[in-house]
Symmetry: C2
């Protein structure tokens, strides 16, 4: 079968999973998807209320019997169906399986008068890398279509043990190596706020569905910004934990077995309490017994408490940078960093500029290490069906990036380790100089608030954090405002890439785009960084 036919068949099959009564019942033209579903009558008022509640409240109401798993699951299935019709955010949709699972949870609850686990009855959306028995995992590759999984990913299994209900798998770009979301099977996923903007990527389907509240917590993965960019582009919260904190075993992936820079999985959601609920729910089930790469490190309350103490004594020490020295972010992002910095200082915390150390080197190292096979594996996936590569990955598979030799790979891995150790030395020097522990660094997640399609050209703000394997939490700060965020024409470009990125800024075109920052901590500092992020939200809200 020709790849276009195979793709068309898959799209029809996906379309057929949406029952007629969940179809968008009002005509949709060029309006932004977000809010548009509200005009529809598919969701009942109660379903609307359910899908607007925080996850922490939903699990409470499920646990005290005020809500049933079937009611909650049905509400999110319906809203996910609408979100998909408006943004094209799904690869797989299986409401029948989900509602059957919800029914069995309700039966369990009725019989035992208690929940099965901390996520009892809560729908969780999964990026189309998670394997679920009986469901396909195509990752948008034509050649991977039509193969039903025979086993679950470790994370899938633990989520189900915790009582979560799985109901959708969300869209990704071909290869995953792109911060937009487009592939030859399903086409493009758009940004709920503006159809001309990307929803981000590679966990772009998650960004879109969570922003549309078709999901309350979604699971993404991040090898070079793929959780953080969609979170940022959709005014959401995203956690890129350090490698070894959450289980990745048996997730599908491109370049499986590549370990020089580990892809990690983490939540995209609406708040830090929801993020904490997700992380604690996984950690409470000893994920290190299911994935050898997970560090046996339960939730560390004392780490969180250490930050709480500093918060109450107004003695956090926060570094920040607006520019990595390679590419200057667009004005809304510069302003977002400035806002966070000002609020922190105003609250009495110590805010000190952080000098980015060799970020251009690290960004280059990341792209060399991630496609050390010169694209061999990617092309074999494409060749198997005859589908073409999406243009967005040109940067990866340029001819000057041949396959590395094992000794070259070892050398690059050694450079990575040395770089990580040099970065630690910079932190030690900072701490000695100031006589205080550095608690976090505030930085851009990408140079863009949002980007128009096919315009994402610089990954360095995200990928350097992957090279360092630092913990990072994305928080929404503000929105691009054309009257404030003017383009600067006096600008002297730092590099060719910088010129390209700057040229893309247009105050009119990006008006209203979400501007976020990432809160970065050393390796395996999730408890601390989430706690700092929560305080930042409070400071931003208070103003």
């Amino acid at each position: 079968m020709d790849w276009t036919t195979a793709s068309a068949n898959k799209r029809s099959a996906l379309d057929a999973t949406i029952p007629p009564e969940w179809r968008l019942d009002v005509s949709w033209n060029d309006d932004p998807p977000m809010g548009f579903w509200a005009k529809s009558r598919v969701l009942t008022p109660k379903e609307l209320t359910i899908t607007e509640m925080p996850a922490t409240l939903l699990v409470q109401e499920l646990a005290n019997g005020k809500l049933t798993a079937v009611a909650v699951t049905t509400a999110f299935c319906k809203r996910a169906a609408l979100a998909h019709q408006l943004t094209n955010c799904l690869h797989e949709f299986f409401p029948d399986l989900a509602i059957a699972k919800a029914r069995s949870l309700d039966e369990y609850f009725a019989k035992h008068k208690k929940v099965i686990g901390p996520l009892h009855g809560l729908p969780i959306s999964l990026k189309d890398q998670a394997r679920i028995k009986g469901v396909e995992t195509s990752m948008g590759y034509v050649s991977w279509l039509d193969k039903k999984e025979t086993e679950d990913s470790a994370l899938t299994m633990l989520l189900e043990k915790a009582g979560a209900v799985l109901y959708v798998k969300t869209s990704v770009p071909q290869t995953l190596l792109c911060c937009e979301t487009i592939n030859n099977v399903f086409g493009r996923t758009i940004n709920p706020r503006n159809r001309d903007w990307s929803c981000g990527g590679s966990s772009g389907g998650e960004g879109a569905i969570v922003a549309m509240r078709g999901s309350i917590i979604g699971v993404g993965t991040d090898l070079g910004g793929s959780i953080r960019v969609p979170a940022a582009f959709n005014s959401l919260f995203g956690l890129r934990p350090s490698h070894g904190r959450l289980p990745y075993a048996k997730l599908a992936n491109t370049m499986e077995g590549q370990e020089a820079i580990h892809s990690v999985c983490g939540p995209i959601c609406h708040s830090i309490p929801d993020m904490r609920l997700f992380v604690q729910s996984i950690l409470s089930q000893n994920p290190w017994m299911y994935d050898s790469k997970v560090v046996p490190m339960p939730w560390r309350k004392h780490e969180e408490d250490a930050i709480k103490t500093k918060i109450s004594s107004r003695s956090l020490t926060i570094g920040y940078y607006s520019c990595d020295g390679n590419v200057l972010p667009h004005p809304p992002i510069l302003r977002a960093v400035e806002i966070v910095k000002r609020r922190l200082a105003k609250a009495g915390h110590m805010v000190v500029p952080w000098q980015p150390y060799k970020h251009a080197f690290a960004a280059d190292l990341a792209s060399r290490l991630c496609v050390a096979d010169g694209g061999t594996e990617i092309f074999s996936n494409l060749r198997a069906s005859g589908e073409p590569a999406i243009p967005n990955i040109d940067y990866l598979i340029r001819p000057e990036q041949p396959k590395m030799d094992v000794n070259e790979l070892w050398n690059a891995q050694l450079q990575k380790w040395n770089y990580q150790n040099e970065y630690l030395e910079k932190i030690r020097c900072f701490e000695e100089k100031h006589g205080r522990e550095l608690d976090a660094i505030i930085a851009p997640t990408s140079p863009y608030a949002c980007v128009r399609h096919n315009k994402f050209n610089y990954y360095g703000y995200a990928t350097v954090i992957n090279v360092l394997d630092y913990t990072s939490v994305v928080i929404p700060v503000t929105f691009a405002t054309k009257s404030i965020d003017r383009a600067s024409y006096q600008f002297a470009p730092l590099s060719d890439l910088d010129r390209l990125v700057q040229a893309e800024y247009d105050p009119e075109a990006y008006h209203g785009a979400p501007a976020a920052v990432q809160v970065i901590g050393r390796r395996l500092t999730e408890e601390r960084i989430m706690c700092i992020a929560e305080e930042l939200v409070r400071l931003l809200r208070d103003d």
Copy 2:
């Protein structure tokens, strides 16, 4: 310069570091080195006493001022000089630097009335991979001679910060990839108990010097048994921590940047309390701030306490295996496992056979992953001087092991992860079946009590643990006894390798060889496993 001349020059230079008054003053013929030094008058009675004390007591006496750092350092320098003359265990000897350092510690103590750190004044020996400013690191490669280091390894720096005195670097085999100790620069290191037996390797110099009490705690490294085999062959304790527990940054290594199986560093010593002193002294200095690969995990007393509770309620659950299904250990080792098993059961703990899972596969995977470059890097080190390869590494650089392609490497790394996860599944099944947590597994460290030179042929008992990255503590159990440990001639070989290994057993030749076992725990379970090992020592002693 010809490589033989360069080697001879280096040996002369090393020899010249031993002052005339520290020279062996009695003639030495074919007697075993161990105990022989006692006939010498180089050490004063007080120095003899000092070098026979546990490290935990030495640091106490140093901290309360009853011993000076100079006295302790001098005693160990002298005994190390004798140990070297008897076993050839040193690559570098720098007593002047050490005594100067000890003097400055004594001055600090006199002035501040307190120690500089938990190892104040304690000499620690280092395998010749640790870098010390101003000292050479040849690892036995001719081409690496004559280069003084310009910086310290992270571990060296942390040991010095803790107050340790560095005075020697100990011998290794060429390439480190061998469980005996021989190289073209320094020749062979012999076993203190019998000059015909290997001291083990690759941390063989540490095995010999610690057994001779020329060092009280030595630092080894372990990629495939290199801490555990020398500990076992010298009736000592050895810790192979999991990767990421102790800092390896800036240690010299062969195949630097190889990350598929991480070499780790750990102590070889005379007791579990000494081992704990070493580990706690490093962890108390936040090693994760100096080496990015170290997990931010301080000493976890609650983990130790969990085991103590099980010990006092006699409810440990211990698996064991005597044979990995590939090669049967020699009779003394089989007996050692049996002894441990019997003592545990007698004390009331649960002892259950553990079925080794695909160990032949994992042992093969280890050798494929460790020389994925087909020996390219090793040969470039050899070619640089013209020295030949030692015969012991033939197994590594056989022609059927060509350089791996990056995609083959990724595939092998994926196999490793899958294998690790399957092993976890076996543990979960075991725990479900027995309704109890598996606390540890007792197993052989190698098939041999000791081996005669050039006879170490099977690495699987050690390397599978490296593939799993499990924590392992070696404890001495007994000694080969010709009247008990008879060879079995009814034996049907499991494999060609098994036939080769069995043929080497000779009750007469191995009479008196130390027989040890390893106590294995899951990844990053150092506190628990050390605590179990300590209890085993108590049970073995009580009998």
